[in-house]
C-alpha cells in the first residue's frame, strides 16, 4: 500500500541484479538453516536476523516461539523458584519485547508483530512472578500510548490497548492478596480520561470517540451512577459535541452524535445504555433539543451536508419527531433533501430512498 511507481524502475543494472541475486541466495540459506537445526540460542539469533529483514515471515515467528519454549527453564526448574531461572525467563521475554518494539516502529500495522507480543506477555504471565508480569504489562501500556501518539488511528494499537487494560485489571496489584473485587482495579476511569485527552488534542479522532462510546456505559455501571448522574453524563457528552459544532465539517463528531442519539432509541441494548429510565417524554425532549441545536448551525453554515443528512436521519428514525410539525415541517424535510442532493450528489441513490421513505410516511403508508 502507498508505494509510488517510479518511472523506469523495472530496469536494473547488471550489477544491481547480481547484488539482488546474492541477497536472495543468502536469504534462502538462512531459511534453510533455521529449518534444519535444533532449538538453540544460535537458531534464535538466526531468526532475529531473518525477521528483522522480513517481519511478515510468520512461519519463522512460529519457529522462534518453539525455540523459546525450549529455552525457557523447565517446569521443575521454575518450580524451584530459583532466581536464576526466573531471570532467564525474564531476559528472554524482554529481549523479544525489545525486538518487536523496534520492528513495530517500522511496521506499526504488522499483525504478526502484535501477535508475538501477545504471546510473549501471556507466556510471561504464566511463568513469571506476579509482580514481574504486572510490570511487563504496565510497560505495554506505555508502548501502546506512544504508538497511539504517533498514529491515533492505528486499530491494532487500540485493540492491544484494550487487551492490556483488561490484563492489568485482572492481575492482582498485591501478589499475596486474595481475589479482590474487580472494582478496585478497574481502569475504566483512566481510560475514559485518556479518550478525553485524545479528543481535546484532535477532534477528528474517530478511534478515540469510538473507544469512548464503549467506555461510557461501563463507567456508569462501575460508578453505580443513579438516574440523575446518568442524565448528567449524557448532557455533558451532548455539550461536548455542541462545542464541536463550530466546525461542522468534521465527520467524527456527527458519528458520535449519532451514538448519543442512539442511546435514546427504544431499540438500544442495555450494555450500550446511558439513561436507564428513559420515558417517551424524555426522548421527545432530547430529540427536539438536539434538532434545534443542529438547526442553529444552519444560521452560520448552509453548505455542510452532514447537517442536512443528520436532520433527515433523525426525522425518520425517532417516533417523537415523525409528523411533529412543531419541530420539523414537511417543507423543512423537502428543503433539506434538496440541499443534500445538491451538496452530496455521490450518494444520490440513498437520498432517493430516504425521500421515498418520507413520502410514504407522510402518506401514512409505512408503520413505525
Amino acid at each position: 500500500h502507498g508505494v509510488s511507481r517510479v518511472a523506469g524502475s523495472q530496469t536494473r543494472s547488471d550489477q544491481a541484479r547480481e547484488k539482488e541475486l546474492q541477497h536472495i541466495t543468502r536469504y534462502n540459506e538462512l531459511v534453510e538453516l533455521i529449518a534444519e537445526t535444533q532449538y538453540t540460542v544460535e537458531v534464535l539469533n538466526l531468526t532475529t536476523k531473518l525477521l528483522t529483514e522480513n517481519p511478515e515471515y510468520y512461519t519463522i515467528w512460529n519457529h522462534r516461539r518453539r525455540v523459546l519454549q525450549h529455552l525457557f527453564p523447565t517446569q521443575a526448574e521454575s518450580a524451584s523458584l530459583s532466581s536464576d531461572s526466573h531471570q532467564t525467563t525474564l531476559d528472554l521475554i524482554t529481549a523479544d519485547l525489545s525486538l518487536t518494539t523496534s520492528l513495530l516502529r517500522q511496521y506499526p500495522k504488522c499483525y504478526w508483530l502484535w501477535n508475538h507480543r501477545y504471546w510473549a506477555l501471556q507466556v510471561g504471565e504464566a511463568r513469571l512472578q506476579v509482580a514481574a508480569a504486572r510490570k511487563l504489562w504496565q510497560g505495554e501500556l506505555q508502548l501502546v500510548t506512544i504508538m497511539l501518539g504517533a498514529d491515533s488511528r492505528n486499530f491494532h494499537a487500540w485493540s492491544y490497548r484494550r487487551f492490556v487494560v483488561g490484563e492489568l485489571e485482572r492481575i492482582p496489584a498485591q501478589p499475596d492478596e486474595a481475589i479482590h473485587s474487580k472494582q478496585s482495579q478497574s481502569m475504566t476511569e483512566a481510560e475514559f480520561a485518556y479518550t478525553t485527552k485524545m479528543i481535546k488534542a484532535n477532534l477528528s479522532n474517530f478511534s478515540a470517540w469510538h473507544n469512548r462510546s464503549k467506555l461510557i456505559p461501563k463507567l456508569l455501571d462501575e460508578r453505580d451512577s443513579d438516574d440523575a448522574e446518568r442524565r448528567h453524563m449524557l448532557d455533558n457528552e451532548f455539550a461536548l459535541i455542541h462545542e464541536a459544532f463550530l466546525d461542522p465539517f468534521d465527520q467524527s463528531i456527527w458519528y458520535y452524535h449519532q451514538f448519543l442519539m442512539g442511546t435514546l432509541s427504544s431499540r438500544n441494548s442495555r450494555e450500550s445504555a446511558i439513561i436507564l429510565d428513559l420515558t417517551d417524554n424524555d426522548q421527545k425532549r432530547y430529540c427536539e433539543q438536539e434538532i434545534n441545536f443542529i438547526k442553529e448551525i444552519l444560521e452560520d453554515e448552509e453548505e455542510c451536508k452532514w447537517v442536512y443528512e443528520v436532520l433527515l436521519q433523525y426525522s425518520t428514525s425517532f417516533p417523537s419527531l415523525k409528523g411533529n410539525e412543531s419541530v420539523i415541517t414537511s417543507d423543512d424535510l423537502r428543503e433539506w433533501l434538496s440541499k443534500l442532493r445538491g451538496l452530496d450528489p455521490l450518494r444520490n441513490g440513498r437520498w432517493t430512498d430516504i425521500e421515498r421513505t418520507l413520502d410514504l410516511q407522510s402518506k401514512g403508508l409505512v408503520s413505525q
Binding site: Q10, L346, N348, R350
Partner: protein
Amino acid sequence: MSLVSGPGRGGGSDSALPQELQLFVDKHVRYIQSLDKRKDELEYWLTEHLRLNGLYWGLTALHLLGHPDALPRNEVVDFVLSCLHDSGGFGAAPGHDAHMLYTVSAVQILATLDAFDDLEARVEGGRRKVAQFIANLQDAKSGTFAGDEWAECDTRFLYGALNALSLLGHMDLIDVDKAVDHVKTCANFDGGYGTGPGAESHAGQIFTCVGALSIAGRLDLVDRDKLGGWLSERQLKNGGLNGRPEKKEDVCYSWWVASSLAMIDRLHWIDQSKLTAFILSCQDPELGGLADRPGDMVDVFHTHFGIAGLSLLKFPGLAEIDPI
C-alpha cells in the same frame, strides 16, 4: 455501462473508448502470468509468506477477465497441494506452517478450478481433513476462530472459515450459531463491525462479518440502513472508497465496501460510475496490474480487488462475481 462494444471485450487495444475508461485486459493477464517468473527479484522471496493468497488473487482476477486458462491448471493444483500439511491445513508456500488464511485461499482455488476430486485422489478423505482443520480452530467458548495454534483470533478467520466450509460442504462441523453470536458482539453503534468486540468499525471487517452472516443466513441481524449509510460515506470526491472515516481511498475497498453494500442491497447508495472511473485510473497502462491509488506501484492484491470491484459494478466483459 453501455460504453464497450459487445460481450467479452472489456477493453483491449482496439476499443474506441478514451484511455481512462478502458480496462487493459491483456496487460493485466500478462502481468499476472509474469508474477511467478520473478524469482530473480528479492521481493518475490520476501513475499513467499503470501504465495498462496497471491495465487488465489491472480487466478480469480484471470477468471474475471475471461482468461481462466492463462495459468496452467495442473501446475496450479500441484502447487496448492504441495502446501498441504498432514494436519489438513495449508501453508502459504511449501515449508510454511499451516494457517487459516492460506487454507481458505487453497480451498477457494480448488473450488474455482473444480479440483476437489484432485484433492481426494491424492489425499484420502482430503476434503473432510481440510474441513476438520478449519473446524478445530473454532473457540468453543466465544465462537470465534483462531488463525492457527498460536491463537490469534480475528473476524477475518471467522469469515474465512465459513466461506471455506461452505465450499467444502462441511458447515456441519462447526457451531454456526456460536459464530453468529460472536459476530453480534463485534457490532458497533454505527451499524458496522470490528476485528473483535470493542473494536472500531472497519470496511474490511464489515465485509467479513456481513459475509459470515450472509453465509449463515442471518442477515436479519444487520441494520441495513445504518450500515449502508456508513458504507456509502466511504466514497470520496475522487470516486474512490476509503476503509473508515478520515482515511485515504484505496482500490481494495472497491471490493470490501462495494460487496458489503451489495450484500445488503444498498449498492445504489454510491456513485457507481465514479467508482468505476476511479478503479480504472488505478491501472498501470504499460505494465499491467492495478495499484492502491493512481500512480502507485501495482501488486496482485490490488489487481484482484480492483477487478472484482469492476465486476460487481457490472463492467462489461467481466465474468459476474458473487458478493460473498
